[in-house]
Amino acid sequence: MRLNATNLHAGYGGVPALHGISMEIQSGEIVALVGRNGVGKTTLVKTLMGLLPVTDGELLLDDQPITNWAPSKRVRAGLRATFQEKGLFQELTVGENLRLNGFEPNAQDAVLEQFPKSLSGRQSQRAGTLSGGEQKMLAAACALKTDASLIIMDEPTEGLQPSNVEVLGDHIDNARSAGRGVLLIEQHIALANRLADRFIVVEKGRVVEASPADDPTIQTRIKKRLAI
């Protein structure tokens, strides 16, 4: 599966936030999208998922136009996303959140056991009462353990303990090994360096760098762009 964004424009209430982003992500690769705060990364996630309307440009999924598709139709076609904030239904239980993502009660333990043991057996706990890190891991589990072909992950490691960052990294790596594509929007550069096949750098709603991870100069350019 391949997702193409061409000259994508989007924004909030007439104020543009994306100014013509073009990019591609396909099954079997991890693309790390990096950029400073406020450059439009989360806007891009919402636009790719159909939560924000495209004001100009085109989105293709396997060459099929999906620009005007509802988010649920994109999900059924094989796209998934985890969000930086409010990635779970706070008022619902852990088990209900999993059920809404297609994991019936008899399959939930198998999902939870692959993530920190602390979530095992806590299906009846309200998701809103989990710690921030636990919520992030559960949201990631909801996306990574589905059969989606392309997964967009917006800052999945934000607020995670270092040990859990490694666990999540392994799961993302496993997703690639299983032939799935991941667009990893990440401030945690070390994780992006470990996993990415390609890098995209965004500034002010535009792609300013796009290189394979084995480009010998990409790390220097990214550090310069992010002022690390």
Partner: protein, 284 residues
Amino acid sequence: MEALGIELLNGLGLFATLGIVALGLGIVFGLMGVINLAHGEFVMIGAYVAYLVQDGGLNYWLAIPAAAVVLFFVGSAVEMVLIRRIYQKPELTILATFGLSIVLRQLAEILFSKNSRKVSNPIPGATDVFGITFPTYRLVLIVVATLIVVAVLLLFTKSRFGLTVRAIVANRGLAESSGIRTSVANILAFGIGAAAAGVAGVLVAPLVSVDSQIGLSYLPGAFLVVIVGGFTRLWGVVIGAAIVAAVQTGVTHYVDAVWAQIAALVLAVVMLQLSRSGSREVTI
């Protein structure tokens, strides 16, 4: 003692009637946040379905599924044509549903004239309950209404569909991003809310004169129940109906019916004030 027993049964009857009438409003207003001023007219349509079924020589009880089906489609059509465009815009919802209520009443007058119609009591006579003689139909209404309310509550609390509706109410964008077709779930929820109102109309029809204005007399009571029970949980309809029925029956018994209405209104105002200080967190 016998007078108290009669009041108790009257209170139960009022509880059942309020509960079944307010149930649909609880779904549409409480869960979906749509202030539906045409809810009373859905009750009216249900009452006319009961009239048509009986007038056509069919068994009265067939009117319950008939009204549920008719009102489900009416409610679904209203959601698709009218409500879908104005979610999250309460002022437009009020105007649109107020207009719809006028249209539905006028249609009823065109089809059935302004004259009231009579739905015959399907179970005439009285039954002895612990030494108290009480109309049999009212007893059956208590049982049937309770069963329907419990069934709908179970649908929204225990089923996959209920979970889907709760997810949409909690976070529509995230629900869509989880693959839930929110537009379809909205149609179903609105249709079920309207169907519940239609069934309520069938059940109350033998107790009243059926005319185009019948819905107006049930709408305020339904809103009182939803407000007293709390907007954000469907079980609140049962609690609200119980409280409003107890207050109205008690005050009617000890003072009079006018003060009973005033007491229920004061109670609703107090609950509104209390709810304003709380968060809008939706449970079922």
